[in-house]
Symmetry: C2
Subunit: 322 residues, 2 copies
């Protein structure tokens, strides 16, 4: 349903984005082309480009001018993923081997930097200070978020506020930015830019909580990476956070989650406790809360078909139909 709706409105543009993603990586070095397009070829939801395009669609029918920034935003996302795989020592992403696993740390760092520089070149072409500004700001905040996440690992004493801050930096920020950039480039009025920015923010929060739930309940096939990755890395997400506070096994869970070794060896037991607590339901409730907030932002926007699509997108999360 989600894909259907998105496809109806921006299918042509998303196809162009797909082509331009590969075309934008254009080095004289074969090796660098290979490593940089490796992750692109693994596919992906292209959620961020989709948001850029959908936000722009409120104010513009011809999205030709929007394509490069949609590509740039996906490239920034990919650059962070390539670096993340070095940092997390991950071998699999989106069902295929990571750049790190195929070419090692060194090439992965270069590849991430190169992809980021490529996205910068696309952004530069707009010649707009405000756009480079928000991108630089987002890049800094994303780095900060990764550090907050790192510092929070295995720490069972941090609460909801720390979690929300982490997922904001990790996901909501770039989705919010995508919506904002789509609106900015299609010359939306200030109030429209702001509503779309907030829509993206709340939807991004909802998405990340959903992702965090799936890490507990989904199969490796669905995730495209091993289930329980968060637990294994000591990343304490919302369902676990709830169980740590309210579940009957909270003492056991606390001692397991605070030990890097036990997080690795007792992953199944940890997942078991969390899945059998009310943590999953609580997290779904939070997802719902953010999805509703996202929908509310749409009220003030023009009544064009894309409005319904964005509303449905939030509904889709409310439905738990994934």
């Amino acid at each position: 349903m989600l894909r259907h709706n998105l496809f109806n409105l921006i299918s042509t543009e998303l196809e162009i984005v797909e082509t331009k993603l590969t075309a934008s990586i254009n080095s004289n070095l074969d090796l660098l082309n290979e490593t940089s397009t490796h992750l692109i070829k693994a596919g992906g939801k292209r959620l961020r480009p989709a948001f850029v395009l959908l936000a722009a669609k409120f104010y513009k029918d011809d999205l030709t001018e929007i394509i490069p920034i949609a590509v740039a935003v996906e490239l920034i996302h990919m650059a962070t993923l390539v670096h993340d795989d070095v940092i997390d020592n991950s071998n699999i992403r989106r069902g295929v081997k990571t750049v790190m696993s195929c070419w090692g740390n060194r090439m992965s760092i270069y590849t991430g930097n190169y992809i980021f520089a490529r996205s910068l070149a696309l952004v530069a072409a707009y010649g707009r200070r405000d756009i480079v500004d928000v991108l630089a700001d987002a890049s800094m905040k994303i780095c900060e978020g990764e550090i907050i996440q790192m510092l929070s690992c295995y720490n069972v004493n941090l609460g909801l506020k720390n979690y929300l801050r982490r997922i904001e930096r990790k996901t909501a920020l770039l989705i919010s930015l995508s919506c904002r950039l789509g609106a900015m480039i299609s010359k939306a009025p200030e109030q429209g830019i702001n509503a779309l920015k907030l829509y993206g923010y709340y939807l991004g929060m909802a998405f990340q909580i959903t992702d965090d739930i799936l890490d507990f309940i989904a199969e490796e096939q669905v995730l495209g990476k091993p289930a329980g990755s968060d637990v294994k890395q000591g990343v304490i997400t919302l369902p676990a956070l709830y169980a740590l506070k309210y579940d009957q096994h909270k003492a056991e869970l606390s001692s397991l989650l605070s030990s890097p070794e036990l997080c690795r060896t007792e992953t199944d037991r940890i997942i078991d406790i969390v899945v059998n607590s009310d943590g999953i339901d609580y997290a779904y409730e939070k997802t719902r809360h953010f999805a509703l907030k996202a929908q509310k932002q749409l009220n003030s926007l023009p009544d064009v078909p894309v409005k319904e699509a964005l509303f449905d997108l939030a509904d889709f999360i409310l439905d738990r139909d994934y």
Copy 2:
């Protein structure tokens, strides 16, 4: 003499750059501030900011407007150094422990990305497409250069052309860019921008060859890092390249330099062969060649005091007085 001349003309501005370098790192996360300012506090020649300022001085007396880009260029340089230390697993740079050595790979990757994003924010403030453009282009080429260097390690069959391409990407490009940006922002005429860009390019080539010579002949104290680092990492530089082709011990040298293990264990023997060959003299000759080419670019520029300083800077290299 070098420092003296630079200081006469841009000493006030360089002091402001120094202050702004630390001030520009301004995260809410103490850890990120600490890691990001770690390398700044280690000092450094601030060669790139100096070139930005000197180039601007041809066309402008008040350099207030130039300071942010001078800071940005040094930050970009530092971001690459922080990542390099992860890649090369280096413990010491500029005489102090590296970010990698103090905080590990993970924090170093984040820190490099954060510093780069900070520099981007400074660049954005100019609101000039051409400037973001040349920076994006330079960032891509620097990544490519690092990969070329990586692919060239332990390969004794690559010649002068490969070496020149490597040092171009490694050093000349960013110094050339510094001169170019200084000229661009001070609204120099096209021909002035071009002459300064070429001056920076040739001087950068001369500087890197000098650096490569010093890796063979200088003490650890002078270098701020262990001597023979290039050899240990299998990076074959000009003096070695010459010895590989013409020295009586070329067969031995070739078998040593093509083995990662022998590069580490037989470093002293390798240095010995190269230092006793004519490779060092040959490299000095190349340095001289580039320094003269740099000086030649100055001819067409306005006769202001900075012209003499830039001429002397190239002379300084010709003098071997370092």
